[in-house]
Symmetry: C2
Subunit: 289 residues, 2 copies
């Protein structure tokens, strides 16, 4: 089955009210926000990636989902397949570094033995008074983004052997979830999500969930000074873990961010370049199964 077919089938099962019909990025129990992310060797990380970076990224991608809900991390549950001693020790170093950096303690978990490529799972739990959905943007709202876009895409190429600056490799290997920004934005954003699969595909998902369309000005998308400058590559690359959010026209965000588009009545995603319509690339980002 594809991911979409599987999730559609899950909707026929008994669902918790806080599952939000499996249409949001996190579940709710009271003021708790819960999210699960798995990563698999050979799919979400390279066998050659340093184990400490794998641990960091596993924590970061989960906490990024909490950041998009404006949640303060409460703790994580870790599902860990034991490996060889050196790998496990290096993983623990990165895990400790991430938990300390993001002020998120370990709650519990499970360890197992497996054969072959390993799969890691984290369920992250956070606390949020107000948790924006990805589907609350209204026609006329402006689309904003934190940080710079496409860095991790270049970082992945560097990890695979290309030349490039260490700063962009670090953006791929040790992403930093925008927890403080998410907390500041949650009370004012009409919609918010993190960018994990690519700016374009995730913006399209936000517009779809909000029942409207969105137009993005390619020239407004913020690139890092060290980025080589291919804007289509940047807006279709995954693993950014920046926050994408909607604000009513005229509202300024309480954190550093860049306005890159606006929501419109016509469904779907459109691009402009210097204000003129610009053809969408064939591939908008990372498409799951």
């Amino acid at each position: 089955m594809t991911e979409a077919e599987f999730i559609a089938a899950l909707r026929a099962l008994p669902l918790h009210r806080g599952a939000l019909d499996l249409r949001d990025d996190a579940a709710r129990i009271g003021d708790l926000v819960l999210t699960t992310d798995m990563i698999a060797e050979g799919v979400h990380f390279l066998a050659s990636d340093p184990p400490g970076d794998v641990a960091w990224k596993l924590v970061a991608v989960n906490l990024s989902d909490l950041a998009a809900k404006g949640a303060v991390p409460e703790g994580i549950m870790l599902g860990y397949p034991l490996g060889d001693e050196a790998w496990d020790a290096a993983f623990l170093d990165g895990l400790g570094a991430a938990l300390t950096a993001f002020d998120c303690p370990l709650l519990g978990g499970d360890t197992i033995r497996t054969a072959g490529a390993r799969t890691f799972a984290i369920t992250a739990i956070g606390r949020a008074a107000v948790a924006p959905s990805r589907g609350g943007a209204r026609i006329g709202d402006r689309l904003w983004v934190t940080g710079t876009i496409g860095d991790a895409g270049i970082g992945l190429a560097i990890a695979q052997g290309a030349d490039g600056p260490a700063e962009l490799l670090a953006r791929y290997r040790r992403p930093v979830p925008r927890l403080a920004e998410g907390r500041a934005l949650a009370p004012v954003a009409t919609a918010m999500m993190d960018i994990s699969d690519g700016l374009l595909i995730d913006a399209e998902r936000m517009a779809d969930a909000s029942g409207c369309g969105v137009t993005i000005e390619l020239g407004a998308v913020p690139l890092a000074p060290l980025h080589p400058g291919d804007r289509i590559a940047a807006v279709t690359a995954g693993d950014d873990y920046e926050l994408l959010f909607a604000l009513p026209d005229g509202v300024s965000p309480p954190v550093a961010a860049t306005r890159i588009g606006r929501f419109a009545p016509e469904p779907g995603l459109r691009l402009t370049s210097a204000g003129a319509p610009f053809a969408l690339p064939d591939r908008l980002g990372y498409q799951h199964g």
Copy 2:
């Protein structure tokens, strides 16, 4: 690393207060109880096991940990590696059957693609006013167990090709967590845990965590009428998912259960048979990594 070494290393990381120093079977956030269990193909289930049974068991083993805390299931987060269409559909059937049977809704989760043997993860969340630990037994307390012991061990042999009754195969493939019993026992049990790795090894763990020893009368251990009767095989077999609990001497359990032993000052596990000392088997149960 071994599981014990890995968990010891985790204790050096930032821990949530509700992690209970990673010495309990579940974590706490307020009145919520959280537990994570992973299962891997070829290790925790056979590639030939029906997918619906794999789903059922994945839910059941997680809810069994909630049962041991006297918790009412609130929901589960599912980490699922997509497979082929028929396998996924059959898994969904079993998942739906288990969620319905145990009155536990789906909260959310994640799907991924992997290569090779697949690993599934569930984090189960429950709610409990009083959650007994595995380490609260006191010298003089009696040791009790629900249901019958060793059925799943025979069921595993049947699943692997041996002759035997369908009832015991079902106990291996579709275990039923003792949720109602756990809720009734939580206010009176001084210690409680579920039996997942074998009666002897789990009883020894309860005694160790409680800072005392325990003596089990082999002849008192309840076997199913259909069980072939090898008591040592029964008390060292895993996957029973019955509840093991301690009650003060003279207290009767509020649910059907069998008294099988008593806690004593001398550390460690001892067996008797018809009251006479009986040598411990070399292998007390399933030992993780």
